[in-house]
Symmetry: C3
Subunit: 669 residues, 3 copies
């Protein structure tokens, strides 16, 4: 898609005078910045009233960038509607989860089902496309910005009913899938259905009295935003079919089912903002998730801060070298760009303390600018070598937004069960071993994998149990956990014994699920040593009380009235194996379990490294690139097999290498 990795980021020259823009461009060149994203929040400027569009300012910006060989990603600007629109067409304003109608303010503030919003957003994009579709600088279109939130207004309610009709056809079917006989909720007319929020079924954001309606509203809300995206996408593609259209996503962002979105995005783009205490493996998981939502295609790192954020409680500076380390971490997991929010710090409003390539001091003699410029130079030198390359993987982790919503809407069995935390635990075990992982959806083909892991696969969609059975029969290894196989896609329990449709695959029946406060621990006791798995491990939270129905019992509970009952089982099934982890173990257990399973499937690490040194591999037809990243505060030595060249320095390594604290190496085998 690109031949050189785009380098640059968000640029808002409309906040500054002309002379400042010239100064910006001078500095961009010093840093080898060759791509900027403009017009992200410029609707109000480009359309000062209903009848008037004024793009002359934007013409000048884009022309001047073009004259300086800087490519442009053009934002459609629809993420924040103008104040005049809100005043004249209040249907653009959202109704909040608590039922209050909003007034003008904030951002991403438009109701996705507002007729006025859709009309005016479309008109704006039409004019933008018409004007810039042939501009040689414009290489990418960014629809809106960080779609998110939700609305509960009457227009949304009406649209929800239409959505339901489309999905379920009859009200009888709605009543059935929501189980409305419970608590006498039967609907006899579509118009009786209202949005589920604090005024109706919810008593907290994540606590609902009717899971079915809340789950469908989550789907509907994601779809409504997606409709807005697609509307703009279609407008752009109609006029400019070959351009790249995308929008910037946000990793494991709960409200939007990005697997559905990815189908309509030419390339995935996402904004990476780890908090001051985010584990490195979590960031890696986010990159892999973003790669995964579009079939493992390379993606764009659309935003990251060059120095610090402003909206965290504590906004630590990136330590020297960390900007480079994290930029290469993105590349190492599949990014084909390094982009920042933002080029120049605003003088006012809520992001003025967000880091930028050009700080408030206004010149280039800053630590941050120097680090930015250094990366810019490397990308010029290098990035054409590995751009477009893929990450080979034999292991997949299933990630499913609908499952996530359903688990966390559930009333019981345990308030502290968080889906992404569970996914992260299994991911981390592989991350520590430098075993590459693809994050896949329930629609993904599993044939290419040796091991498939589905942490807390609570919701098993129609046909999915069959797919898993076929995978295992054919020799695949499948791992799943407690609270899996419980419901279908309408959050209706699969009757006949847990884990429902997975029961025969796993060879177990889970009779009961105990749920204890987290401080109350039990143990997983191995019946005999199995690779690294030996002795006992702590576990807590949920405890399945299972009966083996053919599965081999590998480990048992160590305490309580279910002492001696199975805690870890494996079921031979066809040529493969289906593993079941009946409780929430300490991390070390999962580390050892997955190590064992990978060894059984002969899955190798990219490299063997000390703790905190991350390694990934990207490949293209010619080469293999090994990215080595040292997240430690001290240098580390790694044993090598074979010879490697560090593309960043040209240095050759044989047998071993030493990587400095926060260091990065890009090795060519």
């Amino acid at each position: 898609m690109f031949t050189k990795m785009p380098y640059g980021g968000d640029y808002n020259p409309e906040q500054w005078d002309r002379a400042t823009m010239e100064e910006d461009i001078r500095m961009f060149k010093k840093a080898n910045i060759d791509f900027v994203r403009v017009h992200i929040f410029s609707w109000a400027l480009s359309q000062p009233d209903e009848a008037t569009y004024q793009f002359e300012w934007l013409d000048k910006v884009i022309d001047r960038l073009h004259e300086n060989n800087i490519q442009v990603g053009i934002g459609t600007g629809t993420a924040a509607h103008p104040a005049w629109l809100a005043k004249k067409y209040p249907d653009v304003l959202r109704v909040e989860f608590n039922g209050m109608k909003r007034k003008f303010g904030g951002r991403h503030n438009s109701c996705p089902n507002s007729p006025s919003y859709r009309t005016f957003a479309k008109r704006l994009v039409e004019r933008l496309v018409e004007r810039y579709k042939d501009h040689p600088a414009v290489v990418l279109w960014n629809v809106s910005n960080e779609f998110g939130g939700a609305c509960y207004c009457e227009n949304c309610e009406k649209a929800f009913r239409v959505w339901l009709k489309k999905r379920y056809r009859t009200l009888d079917e709605v009543n059935r899938v929501w189980n409305t006989r419970f608590w006498g909720h039967t609907f006899y007319d579509w118009d009786e259905i209202v949005a589920p929020n604090l005024l109706s079924e919810h008593f907290a954001e994540n606590r609902t009295m009717f899971q079915g309606i809340s789950l469908d509203y989550a789907r509907f809300n994601s779809d409504s935003m997606l409709e807005c995206y697609k509307m703009e996408y279609d407008v752009i593609k109609k006029e400019s079919p070959d351009t790249i259209v995308t929008t910037n996503l946000m990793g494991a962002f709960k409200p939007l089912d990005y697997f559905k979105w990815a189908k309509y995005m030419d390339i995935i783009a996402w904004d990476n903002y780890p908090a001051f205490d985010t584990p490195y493996s979590y960031t890696a998981l986010m990159h892999d998730l973003m790669r995964g939502i579009k079939d493992q295609q390379p993606f764009m790192l659309m935003e990251q801060t060059p120095s610090q954020q402003n909206w965290q409680p504590y906004n630590s500076l990136k330590r020297p070298g960390v900007l480079k380390l994290w930029s290469y971490q993105a590349i190492a997991h599949g990014s084909d760009s390094v982009l920042y929010f933002q080029m120049r710090r605003s003088r006012g409003a809520c992001e003025k303390f967000h880091g930028a390539v050009i700080e408030h001091v206004g010149h280039e003699h800053t630590r941050v600018f120097k680090e930015v410029a250094e990366i810019g130079q490397e990308l010029v030198d290098l990035s054409n070598t590995f751009i477009g390359s893929k990450l080979p993987s034999k292991v997949a982790i299933i990630f499913d937004w609908e499952n996530w919503w359903a688990i966390e809407y559930s009333s019981g069995p345990h308030a502290d069960l968080k889906y992404v935390e569970q996914v992260h635990k299994y991911y981390e075990a592989l991350y520590k071993q430098n075993i590459q992982v693809d994050i896949v959806s329930t629609e993904s083909d599993l044939d290419q994998y040796e091991v498939v892991i589905a942490p807390v696969l609570y919701m098993v969609k129609e046909g999915y149990a069959d797919k898993l059975e076929r995978f295992v029969k054919a020799g695949g290894y499948f791992v799943t956990t407690f609270f899996s196989g419980i419901v279908n896609e309408n959050d209706l329990v699969t009757l006949g014994g847990y884990p429902g449709e997975l029961r025969s695959l796993l060879g177990i029946w889970s009779e009961e699920i105990d749920s204890l406060a987290l401080e109350h621990k039990n143990q997983i006791v191995l019946k005999s040593k199995l690779g690294q798995l030996q002795g006992k491990y702590d576990c807590n939270m949920l405890f399945d009380l299972i009966h083996s129905e053919g599965a081999e019992v590998i480990a048992e509970y160590g305490e309580d009235f279910y002492k001696g009952r199975p805690a870890l089982t494996v079921n031979k099934y066809g040529k493969g194996e289906a593993w079941y982890v009946a409780t929430n173990p300490e991390q070390e257990f999962i580390d050892h379990l997955l190590m064992e399973i990978c060894e059984r499937q002969n899955i190798k690490r990219v490299l063997n490294t000390p703790s905190g040194v991350e390694v990934t591999k990207r490949m293209n037809d010619e080469n293999e690139f090994v990215f080595v990243m040292n997240h430690n505060k001290e240098s580390k030595t790694i044993q090598l097999q074979g010879a490697y060249e560090d593309l960043l320095t040209g240095q050759l390594y044989q047998d071993q290498l030493t990587i400095e604290a926060n260091g990065v190496m890009v090795l060519r085998v």
Copy 2:
């Protein structure tokens, strides 16, 4: 009322197909289930629109149950109104404490003063009664379900003004009792009075700027719900005067003054849902409270879970034996039934993870079903022997909802003072000694008691001080605490020195009340050993600075500027004694104090047991039944005087017995 303890519980066949019902009935019989509660949330099903009622489905259910000798408690179904009603008659929807008008959703969602709700609820009940009053299976009517919540709509405001007129006659009297001269709140017109909530006098649920109006609104809200109950009660009784009418209560449920409700209930019924960390003594107190609200009559345990709940943060399984232990605990405290929520787990919506007799697996080969069936068999064998028997008691604890409301609405002196906690502390001291307690209202006759305890009797209603004085004069022992005797029933301070109307009975004047953060402790120092009372005990929270006006000072404070001033006093008064505990002591002090007072009144324990072994006694004309319950995780040995037969096993015990962990014995003397 019953000749055999009803055994069974909530049953919702309308959520399932016909074949499932047949399977249910088969299993009911296996478990000796002979009573189910139906139609609890079936309004929407039974009345699909304003003009149509359809009860054929219910006919079939009840007939089929009857054919299988299963009795039916029929719910009126008015706890959750249908969606069509909410849409067509929005006055049925509540306005929340924060002032927002609700939409359709949730349960117990109707405004109690909604004209439409009252009209349609009444019509439904009329039709139900007409249809089922003579059905031989129907032995009980359950009005609505777990009444609760509150509404702040305009209809409620209007009804509140009517309620006020009835109670106070004139606006002048309202102004007087609310002390509206304070902060210039004088009302000159009834219509100026609005509901006290977050938009008017409250800044939090329990924090009001005008205690008088909030207290009256609490009374009004309880009365409004009671009006709804009584409306249905009257409809049923008019047609079916001999049937049993009740509704299921919820223990120490703050919003409803159950002493008032009990007058209109043929039998008390309540739902027992201890949390994962509820002390056993607290559950015992709740049973005794439910027995107490209707003059110590036996009550119905209307709901408990056979295994786990779903709406707690952590929903632990009942350990093996615990279901039986807790079922007998209910009986031991006066229940004449053992009933469950629910017969079969729902497939969908918010209670699908709530335990049931028939689990999602759908068959009877589960631990839970087996435990249920075992109890069922025992009740068939035994329950006719002790049904209807009473619990003899010489000790009463006063419990008063209005006092509760007033204490916790109070602005000062201490944010952490919780009424039920204080009641529980005194209850627990007696519970540990196996001394039986009646919980009584301020209207109850005290003559039959030797000891009366009134923890934090903040509100002293008209005439109540006289009643207490008569009780003590006649030889009774009275115990009360700090923050007692402060106000009258309008929360107006009794002037002339605390503890107000109790001053002469107690023989003290409390000049000041110190209030310190809980971690700031003082001591109660005994002047000399008195039975178990000796040395010193910690105390905290509130500290009365009292002057004896005739009372004997038994203990003093150990620290601070009031070191040496009285902390525990006793006043000889007529033939009795009035004790005053001037501060909030550690539990052991209360244990020792009540042991001493009971010994002075020669009140005996039912049995002497090790810690964690609870004992109660029920009596009828023929027999005394001693219930022994071991809440410990290990077996315990108890010394006996005399011979006992365990009705559950037929075993005879002399001198001593050993009871297993979680064990239950029902001994006949």
Copy 3:
């Protein structure tokens, strides 16, 4: 203004009968109470409907007080509107921060921009003034009561737009100062501007997406309340130009910019309610702030409790002697009155558990009354000697409400940065040394000071950097801290490098600001010993990474990647010095730093005392009065130079004195 310190406080005889008032007066005389504040919340009583005013009751009260030589401060009564007004003219009701329209209830409940409120409030005051302006008892007018809160109704929105027009003239200027190009917020019509609250720009009380509008709304809200105050002030002064008009303030009360208010107050009055855990130095700071807002004039302690409060979570009694100690602490910091809330405890409503001179017991034989009477006698004997005297000071601390608002609206860099906490830390260092401090505004003249301290001077208003430069050039010592010099008065960043306009004065450039969770500490390491400053000190929160541009580096960071970079600098500038503290140090560092700076400027302590013994000095033309206050729980001995007479006892001290626990001495040199 007064010749004898007014002694007494809030009095609400309208809550009681006539006989009670006579009893009150009898007791007032026993306690030498000679001033009471009446009619504070009596609007509803004095005006029962739109057409009727009834002041006869007030005539009687004031006449009877006058006959007993008790002076009267008359409240205008407009702090709580009557219920009838709210019903008939609902525009008087506020709209809350969450967007909900309030109903009748609470206090200070009127919208400040309500036309009806302003009309009726004015009419009431006109009638009051007309009636009482010549009454010999009336010596003071108290407008409303504890102004506070905010409103977000449409009338406020309209008034806000008018306020903006007046301040900024054009919408272009509004757009500029709010930087509305950010996030496309440009306004094209005044009516597009809405109040910033939870429905528009805020996501929490202190968290806004547009600092500019929120900051201006804070200014506007303070000004709106001030308009209400001024309206009443003008009405009173027009008829009674020589009377004293004031309103009771609340110390560091964030919503109101008291420096602006003080200009329209004849004397500052404030209500001192320390919480159970408020440090003594914080109370001292509040007194000094209240003295400071009106150019160090003596002020009135308008309210304090004689015993305990009721609205804290824990309302501890004032220990014996503490009432006197705290009363003299007020005097020691500039108060010319000692007044209480309240004379007699209410029987009902939310302040019935607030302490009073006359307790619920109703007689004078209480500890509290005796302490009150003792102070009353002392003030009769003594207060004419030191009334009106001033506190000499060579040190000033700058306090700025607008800076406070801006700092705490800021999104980043650190959620835990609290302005008043920072001011208090620097104040406390001086307080411990008995070095007197004036709290000054940014408008205050600095010439009289040797040292000026500006903790976190984030906002530097137009011309203020010049003023500071002039001050230092002329020999002044200036101390400021991290996160200073960042923005102008519109919260727009001063470009060109932090600390912006203070850069040349301080001789530094701060390149970056690190922000870490509070538990993450660094150290300030002294390059060499400097007075008490030596070794190293902990610091946390924010860390400027500075380059010296001429300043001398006194101390460096001890850790992290900026180890060795400046943490404390001093810049010689003209004849003075400008100090910069680049991080948030532990208290001891600030203690030592300010000790060093005061020594350099030869600023002396009033007295040298052990920890916990506070000393201040008031002076008039004849005498110096040294107030010695022992906050310790044990007696302390102090070395003296020279001879002192204790005015309270007549005792003479030479060389040394011993002061008892909670003791007070007023020494004349």
